[in-house]
């Protein structure tokens, strides 16, 4: 069998933990970083509630999804000389046509078309967080189109001890230089039984910050509430101390999807719902923000800053 590239699928189980997702993305980057374009890598996530936020992330970072579609993509030909081998294949695509130049190692009187089929081929499928491809939701639906040579399980232990963690760190470092998401940081307190929101500060937030945050709590179960069609209204994480971290899009963002699609410059609001209700919460340290007492102001739709506005500076 001759190939001029290697196709790899990184499959993530439907109920993947954030750490598994981060590992999958790190694997993806690692393959593509070292491939010199000889490796084609695709990501596949089972149908999961976490998809929308991931889709957003991978779209912005040019990750490619595995999107099986049922149409012919393999052409089967009959070669008149069964002993003939292919000496070279060159192909190009231009002006709505793909042209393949075939050179056999001998004379071949006829090459004729037999049929066309639908097939997806991977040399490797890396299963993240499981050794059972059956845990990849919906994969069976596509399996009739999909061929693979071997499955390589990627467990969390592998990701921790096998150098993947370093890859993540490298990816974060690299991406930090490439992406510039501006996020508005909000605190959502629960003071005196009423929800109060304070627009507090603006700072740069990268998706990798989020994944870093998630990685710090690999044992937690994230859950999402109020999903929008393509963007979660609120993403909640239960932290170890029992508090809840919300990551949510605001109404303005939902009503102007175009805004967040036009990279860069969309805003992500992080709301921290502290148990004590005053917005002062140790969980802030998770993203290395200083903890301090915050003034509480009822939220208003205004761009002006409250009188008692006090900028919060990111930790050095």
């Amino acid at each position: 069998m001759q190939k001029d590239s290697k196709n790899i699928l990184i499959a993530v189980r439907s109920l993947a933990t954030p750490a598994e997702i981060a590992s999958a993305l790190a694997l993806y980057d690692e393959f593509n970083k070292s491939s010199n374009n000889e490796i084609s890598t695709l990501l596949y996530f089972g149908k999961s509630n976490i998809n929308p936020i991931l889709e957003q992330a991978v779209t912005l970072e040019s990750y490619k999804f595995y999107q099986p579609r049922n149409y012919p993509n393999e052409i089967r030909l009959k070669v008149s000389d069964p002993q003939a081998d292919v000496r070279s294949v060159r192909w190009s695509q231009d002006d709505g046509e793909v042209v393949i130049h075939l050179e056999f190692d001998r004379q071949v009187s006829e090459v004729t078309q037999q049929n066309t089929i639908t097939k997806y081929k991977f040399q490797e499928i890396h299963l993240v967080g499981t050794t059972d491809i059956g845990e990849i939701e919906n994969f069976a639906e596509f399996s009739k189109y999909t061929e693979y040579e071997k499955i390589i399980p990627v467990t969390l232990e592998t990701s921790t001890n096998g150098g993947i963690e370093q890859n993540i760190d490298e990816r974060i470092k690299r991406n930090a230089e490439q992406y510039n998401f501006v996020a508005n940081l909000w605190y959502e307190g629960n003071s005196s039984g009423s929800v109060q929101v304070q627009k507090y500060n603006e700072l740069e937030l990268k998706w990798q910050d989020l994944f870093t945050l998630i990685q710090l709590y690999p044992g937690l179960n994230p859950y999402i509430t109020g999903l929008g069609s393509i963007w979660p209204q609120t993403l909640k994480f239960e932290l170890k101390d029992g508090s809840i971290l919300h990551i949510s899009a605001d109404d303005k963002l939902d009503s102007k999807n175009q805004v967040y699609r036009s990279f860069p410059g969309f805003t992500v609001h992080i709301t921290l719902n502290g148990e004590q209700g005053n917005g002062q919460n140790g969980n802030l340290s998770l993203i290395e923000l200083p903890t301090k007492s915050l003034p509480v102001t009822t939220v208003t739709e205004t761009t002006s800053e409250p009188e008692n506005y006090e900028p919060l500076q990111p930790a050095p």
Partner: protein, 243 residues
Amino acid sequence: MALPNATNPLILIPRNVAVHEILAIAAVYSNFREQAKNVRIALNSDSQVEEALKAVIPNVSILNKIEPSHYQISLATDDAVVENVEWEVSEGKLNMYFQVGTGELNTKSLKINKTGSEFDHIIVVARNNLDDFGEIGTSLKQLKSTLKFYGVGVDLNLEDKFVFDSTYFDTLDTLAEQVLTSFENSELKRPTANYLLASVLNQTQDFKIEVKNSELFISMKKLFDSGASIGAARELINKLIQN
């Protein structure tokens, strides 16, 4: 112009080939083989020349038909983006797998064209029309091709269908001189010189027909200087005539 520096040349034998033409072709074949080229001769399967060729050229490599080794496969992609093409060939089956990024392939638009042969140059001697080569010529014309033709002793003109070039001097009396000229500065060895000398003797009927140009005698000197002999040349002619 000199004979091309071909790696896999193919020399065509025309229908109704004359003895002096066979000898001239044998000289071209011999010259290529002396340069360690993978040279072959093609002639129609119904030709009676094959035995004669085998008689005068030891271990000659002869083909009775020419089939393509190069194919072009094309299909419309419309808006589809092909990211990669893989292939797998075994036991007469060739599967071509298209990795498509977006869109769909239009597989119904598939076209398969024969585009070339394993030969990098086709050598024709003394004939200007592919129709003179029977089925061999017909099969060559069917190749939508990148084939390169080279004519020796003929001002080749294949119009736009093929790439071609040739060596031809209308002042020369014999085909052997045309062949010798096409060798240009390559070393002339004895077997090749004998073929050319035999060709000259046969075409001029041992110089009984009028020779118009003294260049022939200069060529004869080159042949003798390269080791050709009248005896060896006559032996080649006799072998051909007997076959």
